[in-house]
Amino acid sequence: MNELIRLLSYMICLAAFLGLNLAYLGWVERKGAGHIQRRTGPKDVGPYGLLQPLADGLKLMSKQLIVPANADRPLYMCAPILTMVPAVLLFVAIPFGEHLVPREFSFGLLMMFAFASVGGMSILIGGWGSGNKYSLIAGARAVSQNVAYEIPMLITAITIVMITGSMDLNEIVRQQGGYIWNWNVFRLDKSILMPVSFLVFFICSLAETNRTPFDMGECEGELVAGYHTEYGGMGFGLFMMAEYANLVIGCSLTTVLFLGGWQSPIGIFPGPHWFLLKMYFLIWSFVWIRWTYPRTTFWGLLNLSWKYLIPFSLVNLLLTALFIKVF
């Protein structure tokens, strides 16, 4: 009975956390973009435009759902849902605090990667199901991008698993306790390339979440709006929300693997506040990057992954194995 209440309350809290994030990250992005671009961003709906997400949501929900004539109806309809589900599901495994984990899995990390790949698939389904050439190109691009960037991401994650000897996300965080130099990103005693592999992981999560400069799936200058060109109303809304959910997941995972999760950098008061602080800092840097850099080309993107990131992460993997073996 106790367990049931625990799970129920976690479910409600997670839904609230998720809803708040999905709505207000959009606001943060628009406000941030505004300030980066010498303008104010949303300001009319509510104080500081704080009610803007609600207004947007209302607008999207009240729109008619139009299915294009040559769309593949079942695929077209299920793609937005299919992007949303894995993104939401993954919140179950994230350790917000030492005892604040909805469900502790001993294979949390594996689960993360497994479901993250489903998100990539759903973009292809959306692109294919739309029956639009732009969407199709975008879908194909998004999948080859996801495949290319999952490999260095996985290899880097394996490095972490080798160091910590666990796939349990909470256990990985526990091992980074103490001070800031115990975080995996600064664990030079395990591998001297650790800060760089943090960078690799960060770049990969940028690419995995389809954000500028790697937003090949959207690419509005070339492909109109990419895979969601034909989606209106809440179909589009779900894609947008899934993007933000993936953003939160990606940043949480980076925080957990490299930045010590809920551990405090100064050794006192560990707790969820540190986790949130680090995560939102990463999210903000994503926003910052998006409004600063132009987009790479599709070819440049794949080259970066296959020619630099993958060889590098492999070298890092070998080096870490060597370090662990020798010391």
Binding site: A33, I36, Q37, R38, R39, K133, Y134, I137, T212, P213, D215, C219, E220, G221, E222, V224, W291, T292, Y293, P294, R295, T296, T297, F298, W299, G300
Partner: protein
């Protein structure tokens, strides 16, 4: 051409870019035959915003044709005003007061900076960087405010008249322009630092969309496109008009022939335009801004007249045949974008889609001017 495109077993599909597409800056349609991500053949299809400006010129009086000049290239309308004014003054033999010519040059150059600023911002936006557009728009607003104060309009100017300009500039405009120059000058190095030096941008522009000088000559490309291919050709120098010979400025020329060269020509031209404006403000003479005794109903003598100016996108020239009445017998407009875009078909063969659109942006097309 890619090895992919050359292979025997190929499957192509057609992609319509436009007439409504974010990369085409208007109603340009490009019919592309794609081979995967490579372009097999790209054919620009024009005419979606054709308004028969040339025919309009033939059934309106000379004066009634003025408003059309603001509606060709809506980004650098002042140069088009200048061309029409110059053409008719040449035809009717009207002497323009020197002050009017200086004012024309100042406003036309301000307009050129404004046009290049928007071209710069919109181009980077094509490449996925949204922020520079907002910075460019901020600067552009200052120019629009200045020009609005003397011309009364913000975009489709109809400021010049046969024999001068409609309105004299006042001290507010002069001090405002000087203040703008002072504010704007340090911005360009900042743009170079923030945007031009960006590794991703350099990767996307350098070596992309090479156009040789021969190809430019073949299609009649002018303006930054031609000067980015290493040809030093600018009407302001090669066929001087107005008071340009008395002002000192350089013509930026880049020999790289790629998109980066065209981009750099535009950026450098903004600096040169600042120089021209400052120079002209310093030399601005006193006097009237309209020639005396310009007839209300102009009737230029019979003949065939031609006048060319350097607009922001290249050479704009007008040719008219007058039969001695108050309307034109034949009117012909030569607009730069039309020639610049016509080389797209040949130059884009075998390019990647994303490169081709980066290349199209570097031509800086303005569609209403192309379709006329």
């Amino acid at each position: 051409m890619s090895s992919l495109a050359q292979s025997q077993l190929r499957e192509t599909f057609e992609l319509n870019i436009g007439p409504q597409h974010p990369a085409t800056h208007g109603v340009l349609r490009i019919k592309v035959v794609m081979d995967g991500e490579y372009i097999d053949r790209a054919e620009p299809i024009l005419g979606y915003i054709h308004r028969m400006h040339e025919k309009m010129g033939e059934n309106r009086t000379w004066n009634q044709f003025w408003p059309n000049m603001g509606r060709l290239d809506y980004l650098s309308a002042m140069a088009y005003n200048h061309c029409y004014a110059g053409l008719m003054e040449r035809a009717a033999g009207i002497e323009v007061p020197e002050r009017a010519e200086y004012i024309r040059v100042i406003t036309a150059e301000l307009n050129r900076i404004q046009s290049h600023l928007l071209g710069f911002g919109a181009y980077i936006m094509d490449l996925g960087g949204f922020t520079p557009l907002m910075y460019a728009m901020d600067e552009r607003e200052q120019i629009l405010d200045l020009l609005e104060s003397v011309t009364g309009s913000r975009l489709t100017y109809c400021y010049f008249r046969f024999g001068g300009v409609y309105n004299d500039i006042d001290d507010d405009f002069i001090t405002g322009t000087r203040a703008f120059l002072k504010r704007f000058r340090p911005q360009i190095p900042m743009y170079h630092k923030l945007v031009t030096g960006n590794a991703i941008l350099m990767d996307r522009l350098i070596g992309v969309g090479p156009i040789s000088a021969d190809m430019c000559r073949k299609y009649g490309a002018t303006g930054p496109v031609l000067r980015g291919s290493g040809v030093n050709y600018d009407i302001r120098r090669n066929e001087p008009y107005s008071v340009y010979p008395e002002l000192d400025f350089d013509i930026p020329v880049y020999k790289e022939c790629d998109s980066m060269a065209r981009y750099m020509v535009r950026m450098d031209e903004m600096v040169q335009s600042c120089r021209i404006i400052e120079n002209a403000l310093n030399k601005l003479p006193e006097g009237p801004v309209m020639a005396e005794k310009v007839p209300k109903a102009l009737k230029p003598p019979k003949g065939d007249y031609h006048y060319a100016v350097e607009a922001a996108r290249g050479t704009f020239s007008m040719r008219t045949v007058s039969d001695g009445t108050n309307t034109s017998y034949r009117m012909r407009l030569r607009s730069p974008t039309y020639s610049n875009v016509s080389l797209f078909e040949e130059a884009s063969r075998g390019m990647l889609l994303s490169d081709a659109l980066a290349f199209l942006g570097s031509l800086d097309p303005v569609i209403p001017e192309m379709d006329r």
